[in-house]
Amino acid sequence: MTHLIDIVLLTFLVATAIAIVRLNSLFAVVMLFGIYSLITAGVFIALDAVDVAFTEAAVGAGISTVLMLGTLALVGHRQAPQQHSRALPLTVVVITGVVLLWGTADMPRFGDPEAPVHQHVAPRYIQDSPAEVGVPNMVTSVLASYRGFDTLGETAVVFTAGVAVLVLLGRRRRQHRDPGSSGD
């Protein structure tokens, strides 16, 4: 049953990706990106990664779609006709795909308990976090307590991204008053 769900979700994922590549209307592409994120969230749920699925659904399918629609309103929603040949991009994509597939051959099997990622710090988190942190959701105790520095860094990155967008897009009126600025 789980395999069936996986196959259905991955088939939808591939179909959406092919549709995104082939469509010229950027509006449809943005909506398909939202659908792609939603299907990805479904894949994450099938992998039991509910926290990641939550983030993917909220950010990928929700906010990103709105922001990309906002971008489309600025830049127009028709793709410019392609001038160059498609042979070179196709070659690059095929070679990258082959290399990636070749690389996954060396990876441990999916869900292998002997994989290095499950042997490093994970056993300590699983054994000691109920006594040390006492939070039932272990993802939260890793993110917020054991990896508190990382999460502080992530929060700073989000803050920096917002400041960067404000610098690039916001405060337009003040820029017009400034004679040294060449405007946008």
């Binding site: 906010i63 039932p136 992530e154 929060t155």
Partner: protein
């Protein structure tokens, strides 16, 4: 937008529950899936839905874009402040064990506060980015 009654009324019904759900995800993140980041995004999505349905001017009256950057900075400051407080109590930066007499209670307080900081920053930054695009489009 004035004639889209169905859209407006459904959005009006949904928005309070979206905001409530964001608070639930924020403060229930220790026990279930979710946390500050997801809660911040959901909260911002609720306000963005309001802005999409009722227009930019109404949304600005609800949440002014001018107050958002200071709120975002406050979130990061709250996070870093928890670390500084744990340093002042004689521990390492972000060592929550020292925030209360019992180390596990200290961990709970620390996680609650830093998740709140993350949620505040993420919600206000998402809204800031959204407003920046909306202002450009006017």
């Amino acid at each position: 937008m004035q004639r889209d009654f169905v859209l407006r009324i459904i959005a009006k019904l949904l928005i309070p529950y979206i905001l409530l759900f964001a608070l639930y995800v924020q403060f229930h993140g220790d026990f279930g899936p979710g946390g500050g980041f997801q809660a911040g995004v959901i909260f911002a999505a609720g306000i963005i839905l309001y802005a999409l349905v009722n227009g930019f001017e109404q949304a600005v009256r609800l949440v002014s874009p001018r107050i958002l950057p200071p709120i975002a900075a406050f979130g990061v400051l709250l996070y870093g402040g928890v670390g500084v407080v744990s340093m002042l109590r004689g521990g390492a930066f972000l060592d929550y064990n020292l925030l209360a007499h019992d180390p596990v209670h200290g961990q709970h307080y620390g996680i609650l506060l830093i998740e709140l900081g993350v949620g505040i920053t993420v919600a206000s930054i998402m809204l800031t980015i959204f407003y920046a695009f909306m202002e450009r489009n006017r």
